[in-house]
């Protein structure tokens, strides 16, 4: 069977740059998932860096994929800063939502949500706000902002557009080789 190269094009590009020692450290850190600086959150103009980091943690807890580095989740939540800048209703939805989530966390763990150590404990906090417009908005948006990002498709073994490659007629539409004989 023709299997799929799970590295995204993005990773390959950065990897090559990294090999040539031209990429900035943050890009290499991003691509390797070795951790990431907080610079992306500081770039936010309307929402606070702490709020952005809370949204990132939420995104990871709502749709946790351990093989995806933070960069994919950051791309998914970063547009909220722009949306908040353009629409005060969005800004207060997010700020109020994060405040309530942190309040739930402080009451139970004496620390804000993003600092609660175990995913299970954070998920229990999210379940308390699951019905809120804030949670539903963040979750619903992630369905497209995370899974409709073409950079993540190869990581899930999805090949995307095929017509320009002549379809799959010569690229493995019927190459399954492990089934019992019918």
């Amino acid at each position: 069977m023709r299997e799929i190269d799970r590295r995204s094009k993005y990773d390959r590009r950065v990897f090559l740059k990294g090999a040539a020692v031209t990429a900035p450290a943050v890009a290499i850190a991003t691509s390797t998932g070795l951790g990431i600086t907080d610079a992306w959150a500081d770039e936010a103009g309307t929402l606070t860096p702490a709020t952005m980091k809370t949204l990132l943690k939420m995104a990871r807890d709502i749709y946790p994929h351990d093989f995806l580095g933070d960069s994919y989740y950051i791309s998914a939540v970063k547009p909220w800063d722009d949306k908040a800048a353009k629409d005060p209703a969005v800004k207060s939805l997010i700020n109020d939502g994060v405040a309530r989530l942190d309040q739930e966390a402080n009451e139970r763990h004496k620390m804000p949500y993003a600092q609660v150590a175990w995913e299970n404990d954070r998920v229990a906090l999210l379940q308390r706000i699951e019905e809120s417009a804030f949670f539903q908005k963040i979750r619903g948006d992630l369905i497209a902002s995370l899974y409709n990002n073409k950079e993540v498709w190869p990581r899930f073994g999805y090949e995307g557009s095929s017509a320009e490659h002549g379809g799959y007629i010569k690229r493995g539409f019927a190459d399954i080789d492990w089934l019992p004989k019918a």
Partner: protein, 522 residues
């Protein structure tokens, strides 16, 4: 190409250009009858289709405001998208899967076959399978349906091979790559299937039959057919004698136009067609046109549907190749011993990663959901499609509050499953899972129905005028020169995909209209 005057009262006006309207338009044009098709959506040719689920949805889907109510889960998850259908020239034949099956004999007479079922509004069709057979044959030839007319079946893709292996292990007998209106070899000026996938996003190679690049250009070539895209019909008008005289529509610029007509045929799919009849209410017809029975909009059918996805140890890559070329037909029979009347088909289906995220279990989150998503390349999938029972209360009405940009009330769709639908779905989920478990599935996912692709029944055919909206030819009981030409004329929905029956009825209706015009009856 033909261009008819707005004041030409000799034309047949068809509202919609899909399986019903596009076919009827070409058939009439071939007979020398002047036809104007008014299509609400734009004309998008197949080279411009997009192999990307969300981008394609934005390009093709009918996304005008609609509202919903009822206990169906679509109302909760997608409250303003009751149906996944197309707003473009070619209508839903642009995104249909191509499955082209004939009704069984009993599916034309379910009241006789199933008896009285509480809560259901069963009725026999005023036509039989025997009457339909010659038209089914014409439709299969026109559309190039595989496994008919000596056309070979499509080759099976990976998703089919999993389905086939599981079905055979389970003892199912009728398993093959389907009767598909997709060329397995070049035919009718169109090439053979390139196994692109993305059948639901419009077939870029044109191997799949769509009125967009078959019926419509053929009709236009006669000089008798004019298609006006971007033309949203908002009202059908009539004279003092009660005959329809034409339609008012918003053209591509939004300006209101009045096209006169000798005959009007409504083929806007089963949500818009009743909406148009209801929105055309007048002092003579206060409940809407063709609605003396009160049945316009009622008996909305969407099929008992659901999907089963299953994950295996090794790769499947279900999205490669033809989306629906695979079927198990053994459960399509009517066998009430299973705990429900009617039957269902099991057909291969795949979604891309973005739609899988949206539809696998809408609203779900957390590790059980992401674990399922991570199985994506090792997944196989099938769609379950069976007969749902007509109920008077499942209906399309005019929303009392919300209007479109032309000031017309939007459609509101109410749907509740009948207990028979629920029993059938439970059985189908169980059998679907068993098919995959038979060949080593490690986990199966009973996936809820998507927004409706098979919309039927809202202007039903009936022998007696008090029971339905149109007669056996799709001619309205109340108004002689007003016809319904889409799936809304279905008296009941059968187990199988509806398009072949819609096309067959349109071919038959063209004979009826041409004959009646010749005899000056209309």
């Amino acid at each position: 190409m033909a261009k008819f005057d707005l004041n030409d009262s000799g034309v047949v006006v068809i509202v919609g250009s899909g399986a019903g309207g596009g076919t009827l338009g070409n058939e009439l044009a071939q007979k020398g009858i002047k036809v104007v098709i008014l299509e609400a959506g734009p004309r998008i040719e197949n080279q411009d289709f997009i192999n990307d689920e969300w981008d394609s949805f934005g390009q093709l889907a009918w996304s005008d405001m609609r509202t919903t109510s009822g206990s169906w889960r679509v109302h909760k998850d997608f409250p303003n998208i009751p149906a996944w259908i197309v707003k473009a020239v070619g209508g839903s034949t642009v995104h249909w899967a191509g499955a082209s099956l004939r009704f069984d004999e009993h599916e034309f007479k379910i009241k006789s076959a199933y008896g009285n079922i509480p809560g259901a509004n069963l009725l026999d069709w005023p036509i039989t399978l025997a009457e339909m057979e010659p038209y089914y044959a014409k439709a299969e030839n026109k559309m190039g349906v595989t496994r008919t007319n000596g056309i070979p079946g499509l080759p099976g893709n990976n998703n089919f091979k999993v389905l086939e292996a599981g079905a055979k292990k389970l003892g199912y007998k009728e398993v093959h790559t389907g009767r598909m209106a997709i060329n397995s070899e070049p035919r009718d000026g169109r090439g053979s299937c390139q196994q692109i996938g993305f059948c639901f996003q419009g077939c870029k190679s044109g191997a799949k039959w769509s009125t967009l690049y078959t019926e419509i250009p053929k009709g236009e070539a006669t000089g008798n057919l004019e298609v006006r895209p971007g033309s949203m019909v908002i009202k059908i008008e009539h004279d003092q004698s009660g005959k329809v005289t034409g339609v008012v529509y918003a053209d591509e610029t939004g300006a209101m136009q009045r096209q006169k007509a000798r005959v009007v045929a409504v083929a806007g799919n089963s949500i818009e067609s009743p909406r148009l009849l209801l929105n055309s209410a007048s002092s003579m017809f206060p409940d809407g046109l063709a609605n003396s029975s009160g049945q316009v909009g009622r008996n909305y059918l969407r099929h008992m549907t659901g999907s089963v996805y299953a994950t295996f140890e090794k790769s499947v890559h279900m999205y490669r190749g033809t989306t629906m070329a695979g079927i198990i037909r053994d459960e399509a029979k009517n066998d009430p011993k299973r705990g429900f009347v009617g039957g269902y088909e099991m057909e291969t289906l795949s979604l891309g990663l973005p739609f899988m995220a949206a539809f696998l279990n809408p609203g779900a989150w957390g590790r059980s959901f992401t674990s399922a998503m991570e199985g994506y390349p090792r997944m196989a999938g099938m769609w379950l499609v069976g007969e749902d029972l007509p109920q008077e209360t499942n209906r399309v009405t005019l929303d009392p509050n919300i209007k479109d940009k032309f000031g017309m009330p939007v459609a509101s769709v109410h749907f509740d499953d009948h207990p028979n639908d629920v029993a059938m779905r439970d059985h189908a989920y169980k059998q679907g899972a068993a098919v995959y478990e038979a060949v080593g599935a490690t986990v199966t996912y009973p996936t809820p129905p998507y927004p409706s692709t098979h919309n039927m029944g809202t202007n039903r055919m009936s022998e007696k005028p008090r029971d339905g909206v149109v007669n056996k030819f799709g001619q309205s009981h109340d108004i002689k020169n007003l016809f319904v030409s889409d799936g809304s004329q279905f008296t009941s929905g059968a187990a199988c995909n509806p398009t072949l029956t819609i096309v067959s009825l349109a071919i038959r209706q063209a004979d009826t209209i041409a004959g009646a015009m010749q005899r000056k009856e209309i």
